[in-house]
Structure formats: C-alpha cells, structure tokens
C-alpha cells in the first residue's frame, strides 16, 4: 500500500475569509506577531499497490482542486 498526500491551497490572490477570521482571533490567545493565516486542505490517497503520482495528479487536477481558485502539490508519504 502506498499513500500520496495532496495539499490544496487557495491561490495567493484569492481572498481567504476563513483564514482572516482565524488571524483575527489570534490576539485573543495573546498572539500578536502573526501577519496572515491561510487555510487549505490535506487529502490522503491510498493506492493498493505502488504510489502512482501521475494518477494522483490527474485526480487532484480534475476533482480535488479547482484550478480556477486553487493550487495543489502532491507527494508520496511514508505509511507508518
């Protein structure tokens, strides 16, 4: 079994109101030195056999990320 991790993030130019809401809450924790928070999504895909990065890229491009507003990276992860 092999695991591929896909990280999906909003493109830098797309406003992330969730991240802003979190950033705005940080002073209440006493944190005042954070200038920005952005929220993305991590997706783990497990292949039955070997990790197929091309297939994972196709899945990410067609379904997991919307290329209009999001970027993604993929990598093979160690399965513990």
């Amino acid at each position: 079994m092999a695991r591929v991790v896909v990280d999906v993030m909003l493109k830098p130019e797309i406003l992330d109101p969730q991240g802003q809401a979190v950033a705005n809450a940080l002073p209440r924790l006493g944190v005042t030195d954070v200038s920005s928070v952005r929220i993305g999504r991590r997706i783990e895909i497990e292949f039955e056999g070997e990790a197929d990065l091309d297939r994972a890229r196709e899945i990410a491009d067609k379904l997991l990320a919307n290329p209009v507003i999001e970027d993604f990276d993929i990598r093979v992860a160690e399965v513990a």
Binding site: E13, I14, L15, Q18, L63, V68
Partner: protein
C-alpha cells in the same frame, strides 16, 4: 415545452423550480442525477441546495453525476441550461461557465430579499426582461462570492455576459457585484439568487423570478418557429 429539473442527493429547491416552470406554462420533468437520459426535455434547470453535502467544494461532485455528462454535451450543443445557486456552482465546476463561487466574504450565510439589476436581456433565460430592469428575488447562500481573474472579469464585461448585478447592497462580496453570468452562446446561465422563489404572491417578495422561466419558453418557441434562437451573442 418540457423543462427538466435535476434532483441531486442534497438538492433542496428542485420542487420549487419545477413549480416555477409549471406556473410559467411549461411541463416540468423531474430528472434524476443517476440517470443520463434527459427524457426529451427542451431546457434544464439545475436547482439550489447542497448536492452531495457540499463535500470537497460546492458542486464539485455533482459535476460528475451521470446526468451531468449528458447535460454538459447538450449545453455545448445549445440546450438552454439555468443553474440556480448550487446549480451555478455546478456549472462553474463543469467549466460551462468561467470563474468560481467561494465563501461569502463576511463568512455569514445570507438569507434575504435582494434587489438585482438585469444587465442583459440577450440570453435564453432573460429575454423577457428589459436592460436595466430592477427585480427583487430571494438570495440565500453561504458560498456565493463570485470570483474570477481580472482578465476573465474584463472579458465578461466586454462581451455583455454579466447578466445581473446586485444593487442596494452586495450580499456576499461577489466581484463587480456579479449575481448572474452567461456563456458565450447565451444558452447557459448561472444565477446565485433564487428566481424560483419569486413566482407567487403568497410565498415570494415579487413575481419577478417568473421572467426567467417565461424567457426560456419564448426562446424555445422562437427556435421551433424556425426563427433565430434567442440569446445568441456573436
């Protein structure tokens, strides 16, 4: 004329959309997400709601439903398709319309009666309005903030494809106050507010929403009469 209304798992407004089609004078035909057959309908409405629980992104999974494969091909061939709210999100995810709908800028779900200005009557779904007409229909969304890159927004403006804008307050932060857009051919329209909830005095803030449904009947009547299909942008 037969207007198909698709039901996905999690659709909410399919019943109201079918009712609006009937009130406008059409035969409403219920279409099921798992059935690729369009049953000979003349137009399709993708209704509001939370298809597939809004998992991943709103509309992202609905786009791959068997019925959508057929609708995407038919829309490219000129079939009038109206996506309302979640339906608009599905049309963007299916790349039938440009851009994307994202979380409302203020993060709150917004539910209210909303004034819009119809910017273009040159589509299959807006030909019964006049340019600049102000209409009142409900809006209810959590992810209705329309975004696209500046080049796409400029092209939409230049080609007259922004067909309705929010006025008297933008409910979700949509760029350039965009409430509705169309494709190049004018047969596919996505709108975030809900015209199907403004078709009867008892339940709606106005009857303004009916115009979208009577427009498509007029476009279809023109097409069958052998006239020029309504809504061509060339």
């Amino acid at each position: 004329m037969r207007i198909g209304v698709v039901t996905f798992p999690g659709s909410l407004d399919d019943g109201d959309a079918a009712r609006a089609a009937r009130i406008a004078g059409a035969e409403a035909v219920r279409l099921w997400h798992g059935d690729p057959d369009l049953h000979g309908v003349d137009a399709v409405v993708l209704p509001g709601g939370f298809s597939y629980g809004d998992y991943l992104r709103c509309g992202a999974i609905a786009r791959f439903a068997p019925v959508m494969e057929t609708i995407i091909d038919a829309a490219r061939g000129g079939l009038p398709v109206l996506g309302i709210c979640n339906g608009f999100q599905v049309l963007c995810e299916a790349h039938l319309l440009p851009g994307a709908l994202t979380r409302n800028q203020h993060l709150h779900f917004r539910n209210r009666d909303q004034w819009l200005r119809v910017e273009s009557p040159d589509t299959a779904w807006t030909n019964n309005f006049t340019e600049g007409q102000e209409i009142l229909v409900p809006v209810k969304n959590g992810e209705g903030c329309y975004v696209a890159d500046a080049h796409t927004l400029d092209a939409l403006e230049a080609e007259g494809r922004i067909i309705a804008r929010y006025i008297k307050g933008n409910p979700n932060g949509s760029q350039r106050d965009i409430a509705a857009i169309t494709n190049e051919a004018g047969n596919v329209v996505g709108i975030m507010p809900h015209p199907e909830h403004a078709v009867e005095a008892l339940t709606g803030p106005s009857l303004d929403g009916l115009g979208f449904f009577t427009s498509v009947l007029r476009a279809l009547a023109g097409a069958t009469a052998g006239g020029q299909q309504s809504g061509g942008h060339q």
